[in-house]
Amino acid sequence: MLVSVAWSSLRSRRKSVILTFFSLLISISVLLSVEHIRQNAKESFNRTISAVDIIVGAPSGQLNLLLYSVFRMGNPTNNIAYESFETLSKNQHVAWTIPILLGDSHRGSRVMGTNENYFAHFKYANKQALEFAAGVPFSKLFQAVIGADVAKQLKYQVGDEIVIAHGIGNVSFAKHDNTPFVISGILKATGTPVDKTIHVSLNAIEAIHLSPSQQKKLLSDPTSVNLTPESMTAVMLGLKSLMATFKLQREINNYQKDQLMAILPGVAMTELWQMMATVENLLLVISILVLISSLFGLSTMLLASMQQRKNEIAVLRVLGASPSVIFALVLIEALLLIVLVIVAAIGLISLTLTLSSDWLASEYGLFLSGNLLSIDSLKVVAVIVVTSIITSLLPAIEAYKNALNVGLSSRC
């Protein structure tokens, strides 16, 4: 009964209620999404790479190398020589190497040259290996293995032919129509940039970059052209013993024949995380402030209605409503509004996440879950509800006082 009265009361003050609703909707949506991204980003980043001990690339920043080699974000400033890759592979401490050669794209997905070690040794999340949803690793020159998202978005199946172009942007300046690839396998979804990647052999990358005449020659006689690449974007190393990590890192950094930089993914990830955390905390503080300001708006709206409500309170009092009922009515009104706003905010964010998840994943390597109802989000929701109750106490107390003083003489 009281809830329906509170509801009617809200409806009777539709204009100010709707304005307050939107002000709360915006601030609560911002807060909930900042919180959601905060929780998910760390997990999303951390799951991207696992079991890789060292990443080697051309000297730049460790974050930069991490971003382009693992997250496929940005572009490598420089490559390393192919000979360096071979030297690394032969190093006594190294158990395995995964070469990475980036640079091309296919309909917005990054194309990455690598070898069979990638499917054998690359791990993500909790040391999970890559698994195939269909097909097998590439074994021929013009074969490709695609990530789950690529398959889903472009509706590719094993056996389909695709064309890979030179360049990165969404629109490539040169399409190599005469080098069609056949999809040999599709990976299972990992929730990492792997899902957005098209994997081909190192030689294939080289083949894409041949001149049209040489490509023709290659197609007629596969052995006629040397397809060994001259350089490499980065190399991921797995070590035989972790004890050798720092020694090897130092050795690589001091390597004379090529300019190399070795980074430890865990360390780089922590740096990335710390950088993000500062920004996130700032965002969180801002969104809390915005929320507080709109909660004050709610309180103001309720207080402003109190004048008009004096009469209503008098009526309720003579009907036998105790002052605490009046107090409760005001709180119920605030709570109704807040609950509506929270539901709307969760709906809004879920919708936005669903619509923008591809974009976030490809632009920022962020794989956010569309499910907002984690324990942590519920905690945030609980905090919002409690703070809104606290800010609504002022108008509720005002109503309580009115209720105590009201007499039949209240005649507006």
Binding site: M1, S8, V315, C412
Partner: protein
């Protein structure tokens, strides 16, 4: 002798004993003092007096919205003014109907919701309220269709009649009415009064009707001038 005394006592609806009240906050408030005033069950009394003479204050005391500074009020042979406020609110919800000058209804709620709200606080089952309300409205010469309309969309005369229906929905023993006709024109006023008296007769409700308008006296058997109840307050030490 004893039995007849008991009978009279039993039939008392209102018993005001040595009640003194003043609005403590105002420095200049003189306050009112009523040595003794009783009303039997089923009686209908017209309480009149000049503006500012304390009529509304007395009704507020009877309704339990105000508490006497001194003295006590018994309603239906029960201590009332000394009850805890929550018990008082409950007693009011169940046994006292109140109609005041204007704005008796919550304008954004439907007429039915207004009446249901009274039943809710009176602790009556919601299920039968609608039927009872439409019967009551018919008696008050209102189309039961108004039940679904927002109270604020009714004319003042209609609203006042709905207010009576609302006040009587819990079948209270006592009905307190404060200048209910001052916002009505002459024709609406006469119709309102006739219906009010008739319905109170029918339900043998004790009615305290307050007005400064002596014209309304003709609808009542008994009338009391408020100043005749009051003693000069100077005699009371505070």
């Amino acid at each position: 002798m004893i039995s007849s005394a008991l009978k009279i006592k039993e039939s008392l609806a209102i018993d005001v004993k040595g009640v003194y009240h003043r609005y403590s906050k105002t420095k200049y408030a003189v306050g009112i003092f009523i040595p003794r005033w009783t009303l039997k069950r089923g009686e209908r009394v017209f309480l009149h007096g000049a503006s500012g003479s304390g009529k509304t204050t007395l009704l507020n005391l009877l309704a339990g919205v105000l508490s006497p500074t001194q003295g006590g009020i018994q309603l239906l042979e029960q201590e009332f003014s000394s009850l805890y406020s929550r018990r008082k609110d409950k007693f009011r919800a169940q046994h006292i109907g109140v109609v005041f000058q204007q704005f008796n209804l919550i304008s954004y709620l439907s007429v039915l919701k207004n009446i249901q709200l009274a039943a809710y606080f009176g602790g009556n089952a919601k299920s039968k309220v609608e039927q009872k309300a439409s019967e009551m409205l018919r008696k008050l010469k209102l189309d039961p269709d108004v039940l679904q309309r927002p109270a604020g969309s009714l004319s003042v005369g209609q609203q006042q009649r709905v207010a009576i229906a609302r006040a009587l929905i819990n079948a209270p023993e006592i009905l307190l009415v404060d200048e209910p006709t001052s916002a009505l024109d002459a024709a609406a006023r006469d119709a309102f009064m006739e219906i009010l008296i008739e319905i109170c007769q029918l339900t043998t409700t004790t009615l305290v009707f307050v007005s400064h308008d002596m014209y309304l006296r003709r609808f009542f058997d008994a009338s009391v001038e408020i100043s005749s109840l009051l003693k000069p307050v100077e005699t009371v030490e505070c």
